[in-house]
């Protein structure tokens, strides 16, 4: 069964460094998402992406964040200058057109020190 994959599973970085989180959505999916879950808190929407542009973003998704689909398979989330409060589990999700359910990857745990 096809699934969303994410790399790395765990990333440790120093405050102020740039990080890129990578996702490979399910191959025939057209809508892509990033969510995050700070430890002990609920899962929060960051951004949705369709047809090579951002469809919607939350207030969390400020100028420090960017997304890109650099080729036909990868979907990346970049944080330009990480802060301690960016430490969280980041989930990538994807879906096909015409349905509402999204399929999630296993997540990348980002630790900013």
């Amino acid at each position: 069964e096809p699934e969303v994959t994410q790399t790395p599973s765990h990333q440790v970085t120093q405050m102020g460094q740039e990080v890129i989180l990578r996702c490979v959505p399910i191959s025939n999916h057209l809508y892509f998402y990033w969510y995050r879950q700070i430890l002990g808190q609920k899962v929060e929407f960051l951004v949705s992406f369709y047809n090579n542009e951002i469809s919607e973003k939350s207030e969390i998704f400020d100028d420090q964040f960017s997304v890109e689909r650099p080729d036909g398979s990868n979907f990346t989330l970049k944080i330009r200058s990480t802060k301690l409060e960016d430490s969280a589990m980041y989930f990538c999700a994807s879906k096909v057109s015409g349905v509402s359910e999204q399929y999630f990857g296993p997540g990348t745990r980002l630790t900013v020190t």
Partner: protein, 115 residues
């Protein structure tokens, strides 16, 4: 605007007894509703979904949920709990079906299953 409220942060049941995880939603639109499960150190797995078809929805692993518009509820049930059901369960709402609509998560209910 849309939101979900999970009424219990933690539920503990004995193996073989029924499970009830409660969820109320608020939506300005006709919502799509979901339950996702997160096992320890794992990703989010879709358990079941409601998208304006049958109000009683069956999911994987014997779970069911009933959409009650009059009560704005979407409670998750299972007749008999198994040890492997121990996990975090999220009630989730989405605005509509065909666009890039985001998912809005509840705060989660941790289900503990004891012998």
């Amino acid at each position: 605007a849309q939101s979900v409220t999970q009424l219990d942060s933690h539920v503990s049941v004995s193996e073989g007894t029924p499970v009830l995880l409660r969820c109320n939603y608020s939506s300005s639109y006709s919502p799509s509703l979901f339950w996702y499960v997160q096992h320890p150190n794992k990703g989010l797995q879709l358990l079941l979904k409601y998208t304006s078809a049958a109000t009683l929805v069956k999911g994987i692993n014997g779970f069911e949920a009933e959409f009650k518009k009059s009560e704005t509820s979407f409670h998750l049930t299972k007749p008999s709990a198994h040890m492997s059901d121990a996990a975090e369960y999220f009630c989730v709402v989405s605005r509509d079906t065909g666009t890039a609509s985001k998912l809005t998560f509840g705060t989660g209910t941790r289900l503990q299953v004891t012998l």
